[in-house]
C-alpha cells in the first residue's frame, strides 16, 4: 500500500494539536477562576477561598507545564510537514505566532513565578495582581492563536503575490471576519471546561466528605456560572454558525448533512452520510428545523454540499457527526446546570449522590466537546488550508514521503503516550491529596522555592517512597 504523506501529515497535525489543545482550553478557564478565588480571599479574608486558590493553583501548575511541553512541538510542525504553507503565509502567520510566543514568555517571566511561588512572600495585593495578569495573559495568547486560525478560515487583509501572502492591512487580517465569533465561542468553551472540572472535582470531594465547607462554596459558584454560560454558549455558537454560513457555506452544509441546495431543510438527528453516492442513508430528522435555525424561516434556502465539486468537499460524515457530538454535549451541559438549580431549590444540591456522581462523570465531557468542535471547523475547511486560496495538498512539504510522516506520527504518539500517562497519573495524585491542612501549608511556604518551574509548585510525590529511601 502506498503511504500518503498528505493524509499522514493531517493525522499527525490533528493528533499533536488535539493533544496540545486540551491543556490551554483548561488553563484559560482555570486561570480566571484562580484570579477570582484570590480576589474573594483578598476581599473577605475567608480562609476557604485561600485554600481553594492554593489547591487549584497546584493543578494549574501541572497542566500549564504539560501545555508548554506539548506547545514546543507545535511551533515546529508548521515547518516540518507544511513548509510550503509556512513559506507562503509567513508574512502574516510568522509575526502573529511569534507574538503568541512573546506574550507567553512575558507572562511567564513576569507574573507566573509570582503567582506560583510568591504566596506569602509578596504582599497579598501583588499576588492578586499577578493572578489577574496570568489570567489576562492566557487570553492574549489565545487571541493571537485564534486570530491566526480564523485567518485560515476567512482570510482577509492580504494579497497573494508570486505564491506568497503579503499583508495589505494588519487590522483586517488580524480581526478577520470569523475572528470575534471564534474568540468568544472558544473563550466561553474554556470557562465551561474549567467550570465543569472544578464542579466535578468538588463533587468528588463532597462525596467523600472532604473539605466540605470549601468544596460546597466552589460547587455552588461553578453551578451558577454554568447556568449562565451553558445556554449562552448555545446562542454564541448559533451566531458563529451564521457567520460560517456566510463565509464557508459548504462547511455548514456538511454540518447539516444537506447535499442539495433547497428550502425546508430538516434538522437531522441521525444519518449516515455517503460521500460517494452524495446522499444520506437512514435519515431521521425534524422537518424544516435547520432552515428555521439558519434562516429564521421554514422555507429558507440552505446551500447544499453539491454546490462544489466532490473533490472540493470536506469529509461530510466526520463533520456531520463531530457537530452532533459537540451540540449533544452542549445540551447535556445545559441539562446539568438546570438540574443544579432544581436541587438547589430543594436544598439537596450538596448531598444528592446521583447528581454529584454525574458531575464527576461530566469532567471529561467539555474536553470531548471542544475537540469535536475543532474537528467540525478544521475538517469542514477541507480541502482548503487557507480557505479558497491554498489547499492542504499545496501547503504540504514537497520533500515529505509517506514513510517519513508515518515514522514521526508513530513517534509522537509514543512520546505523548508516555508524557500523557505521567502527567495524568501525577495530576490525579495531586487531586487525591487534595487541600493540605493548615499546618502543612505553612511548612510548604517555609521551603526555599525555585522560581519559574510550573510543576515544582506542586509538592505531591510522583510515587510512594520505597521503605529504604525517604
Amino acid at each position: 500500500m502506498e503511504l500518503d504523506p498528505l493524509l499522514l501529515s493531517r493525522l499527525q497535525f490533528a493528533f499533536v494539536v488535539s493533544f496540545h489543545a486540551i491543556f490551554p482550553v483548561f488553563t484559560i478557564g482555570l486561570a480566571s477562576y484562580i484570579a477570582l478565588l484570590n480576589g474573594l480571599f483578598y476581599k473577605t479574608e475567608n480562609p476557604a477561598w485561600d485554600r481553594l486558590a492554593l489547591f487549584w493553583t497546584k493543578v494549574f501548575a501541572v497542566v500549564f507545564g504539560m501545555g508548554v511541553v506539548s506547545g514546543i512541538v507545535m511551533s515546529f510542525q508548521f515547518g516540518t510537514n507544511w513548509s510550503n504553507f509556512s513559506y507562503a503565509s509567513a508574512n502574516f502567520l510568522g509575526p502573529i505566532l511569534s507574538y503568541e510566543v512573546v506574550t507567553a514568555f512575558f507572562l511567564e517571566a513576569a507574573f507566573l513565578g509570582v503567582l506560583l511561588f510568591g504566596r506569602g512572600k509578596v504582599p497579598q495585593g501583588v499576588h492578586l495582581f499577578a493572578a489577574i495578569m496570568v489570567a489576562i495573559g492566557t487570553f492574549i495568547s489565545s487571541f493571537w492563536i485564534l486570530s491566526a486560525n480564523s485567518w485560515m478560515h476567512t482570510p482577509a487583509g492580504v494579497e497573494l503575490i508570486d505564491g506568497r501572502f503579503h499583508v495589505t492591512s494588519w487590522i483586517a487580517a488580524i480581526f478577520n471576519p470569523s475572528f470575534w465569533y471564534r474568540f468568544v465561542h472558544m473563550g466561553m468553551a474554556s470557562f465551561l471546561t474549567g467550570g465543569f472540572v472544578v464542579a466535578g472535582v468538588s463533587a468528588w470531594f463532597l462525596l467523600r466528605g472532604r473539605d466540605v465547607d470549601a468544596n460546597r462554596k466552589a460547587l455552588s459558584m461553578c453551578l451558577w456560572l454554568l447556568l449562565v454560560l451553558a445556554p449562552a454558549q448555545a446562542v454564541v455558537g448559533d451566531f458563529h454558525g451564521l457567520n460560517t454560513l456566510e463565509y464557508q457555506p459548504t462547511k455548514v452544509a456538511a454540518m447539516e448533512g444537506n447535499w442539495e441546495t433547497r428550502g425546508n431543510v430538516p434538522l437531522l438527528l441521525f444519518a449516515l452520510p455517503d460521500q460517494e453516492a452524495q446522499t444520506n442513508r437512514f435519515e431521521l430528522g425534524i422537518p424544516s428545523l435547520a432552515s428555521v435555525i439558519l434562516k429564521h424561516d421554514p422555507a429558507g434556502v440552505i446551500p447544499g454540499i453539491s454546490e462544489v465539486a466532490p473533490e472540493e468537499q470536506p469529509p461530510v460524515a466526520i463533520v456531520f457527526w463531530a457537530f452532533r457530538i459537540m451540540v449533544g454535549i452542549g445540551f447535556l451541559m445545559i441539562g446539568v446546570a438546570i438540574a443544579g438549580v432544581i436541587l438547589r431549590k430543594r436544598g439537596t444540591l450538596y448531598t444528592n449522590p446521583l447528581f454529584l456522581k454525574s458531575l464527576v462523570g461530566m469532567i471529561a465531557m467539555p474536553f470531548v466537546a471542544v475537540l469535536a468542535g475543532w474537528v467540525v471547523t478544521e475538517a469542514g475547511r477541507a480541502p482548503w488550508l487557507v480557505y479558497g486560496m491554498m489547499t492542504h495538498a499545496e501547503g504540504l512539504t514537497p520533500s515529505l514521503t509517506g514513510g517519513m510522516a508515518l515514522f514521526t506520527l508513530i513517534g509522537y504518539v509514543a512520546v505523548y503516550a508516555v508524557v500523557f500517562w505521567a502527567g495524568i497519573y501525577y495530576l490525579t495524585r495531586v487531586v487525591r491529596n487534595g487541600m493540605l491542612p493548615e499546618d502543612e501549608q505553612k511548612e510548604v511556604q517555609g521551603e526555599v522555592e525555585r522560581p519559574k518551574r510550573p510543576l515544582s509548585a506542586s509538592h505531591t510525590p510522583f510515587d510512594d517512597a520505597e521503605p529504604a529511601r525517604s
Binding site: V68, I72, P95, S98, H166, T397, T408, L455
Partner: protein
C-alpha cells in the same frame, strides 16, 4: 524603511538568540550527557539541582528562535525543518523526555532509575541532533528555487555524525565546567578530572572539522584561504581560550574554566558565522533572499525589542538568585 536594514537587524537578533541558546541549554544538556558517568547518586542530585532553576528558561531561547525564524526568515524555517525532518523529531522527543524527567525525578523514588535514563538519553539525543544541524548547515541543502527537494536522510552523513558527536563533547565540556563552578568536594573534584579529557575530545573534533570542511564545502575553504585574513583571529582566540581552560583547571580555579569554555563556544560560533556570512540557507540563499516582507519584519521587531530586555533581565535575576554552590543534600525535593 530604507534607513534600517531590517534583515540585518533580524540576523543579529536571531544570531544572538542562537548563541544564547547554545551556551545556556548547552551546559544543562551537557550535564545530562555526563549523568551516567557520575560517581554516585548524590552527585547526580547536585548536578540536577545546579540547573533545576534555570533549565526551562534556557530553552525559551529555542522557542523564541524558532518563532522568530518563521517571522523574519521563513525560508530558513521552510528549508531546514523539512530537510532535517527526522533529526528535528529526535531533538524534540529528546527535549520532551528530559524536561519531564527534570520535573518527575525529584518527586519520584521507586521510578527514579527510569527518570535518570530519560534525562540522560533525552539530553544526548537532543545534543547530537543539534550538532548534526550545524554539520548540515556547513554541508548545504539540496534546494531548487525556494523549496527543499532532497531526501529524508540527506543530512545524515559521516560529516554530520562527527559534528553531532562533536557538539555532544562540547556540551559535556560546558556541563563539566559549569559543575566546577557550582559544586564542591568530591563532585567538583570529579568534574576537574574529566574536564581535560573532554577538552581533548573537543579539540580533536575541532581539528577534524576544520580539515574536513574543504572537502564538504569548497566555498568555506575559499573564504578562509583566499579572502579576508582577519577572520583567523577567531580560531586563534578559541585556541587561546582552550589553553586558558587547561591552565585554569590545573590551578583548580572555580569560575575561570566555565568562562574559558564559553569563550571557546563563542569564538567557534563566530568563526562558523564568518565562514558562511551572509549565506543563511546554503549553498545560495543570503539573509536578504530568506527574509519575509519588510512590513512583517518591522511589525514583529516592535514586540521583540520590548520583550527581549525583559527576558534578559529576568534571566539575569534568576541566575543571581541562585548563585553560589549547590551543596550535597540541599535543594528542593
Amino acid at each position: 524603511m530604507d534607513m534600517f536594514d531590517l534583515s540585518l537587524i533580524w540576523a543579529l537578533i536571531i544570531g544572538f538568540g542562537i548563541i544564547m541558546y547554545v551556551v545556556m541549554d548547552g551546559f544543562d544538556l551537557g550535564l545530562g550527557i555526563l549523568y551516567p558517568f557520575a560517581p554516585d547518586e548524590e552527585s547526580r542530585d547536585v548536578m540536577m539541582n545546579s540547573v533545576a532553576p534555570v533549565w526551562d528558561g534556557n530553552e525559551t531561547w529555542l522557542v523564541l528562535g524558532g518563532a522568530g525564524l518563521l517571522g523574519a526568515f521563513p525560508l530558513v524555517y521552510s528549508v531546514f525543518l523539512p530537510a532535517l525532518y527526522i533529526g528535528v523529531f529526535l531533538m524534540l522527543a529528546g527535549l520532551i523526555f528530559r524536561g519531564i524527567a527534570f520535573e518527575f525525578r525529584f518527586k519520584s523514588h521507586r521510578n527514579r532509575r527510569w527518570w535518570n535514563r530519560a534525562f540522560c538519553w533525552g539530553s544526548a539525543v537532543a545534543a547530537f541532533a543539534q550538532g548534526a544541524v550545524v554539520g548540515a548547515y556547513i554541508q548545504g541543502f539540496n534546494v531548487e528555487g525556494f523549496v527543499y527537494v532532497g531526501g529524508a536522510l540527506d543530512w545524515l552523513t559521516p560529516f554530520t555524525v562527527m559534528t553531532g558527536l562533536g557538539l555532544m563533547c562540547g556540551y559535556a565540556l560546558l556541563g563539566a565546567t559549569w559543575l566546577i563552578l557550582k559544586s564542591e568536594g568530591h563532585v567538583q573534584e570529579w568534574a576537574y578530572r574529566i574536564t581535560p579529557v573532554l577538552l581533548a575530545a573537543v579539540l580533536v573534533v575541532f581539528a577534524a572539522v576544520s580539515l574536513w570542511t574543504p572537502f564538504v564545502n569548497p566555498d568555506v575553504w575559499a573564504r578562509w584561504f583566499n579572502n579576508i585574513q582577519l577572520i583567523w583571529v577567531l580560531p586563534a582566540l578559541a585556541l587561546a581560550c582552550a589553553i586558558w581552560l587547561w591552565s585554569s583547571v590545573r590551578r583548580r580555579s572555580d569560575g575561570q574554566p566555565f568562562v574559558a569554555t564559553l569563550g571557546i563556544f563563542i569564538f567557534t560560533y563566530l568563526g562558523l558565522v564568518a565562514s558562511k556570512w551572509p549565506v543563511i540557507v546554503p549553498p545560495d540563499h543570503t539573509i536578504w533572499d530568506a527574509a519575509s516582507a519588510p512590513e512583517s519584519q518591522l511589525f514583529l521587531l516592535i514586540g521583540m525589542l520590548f520583550v527581549i530586555p525583559i527576558v534578559l533581565t529576568y534571566t539575569a535575576w534568576t541566575y543571581w538568585v541562585f548563585r553560589g554552590k549547590v551543596k550535597v543534600g540541599e535543594g528542593y525535593h
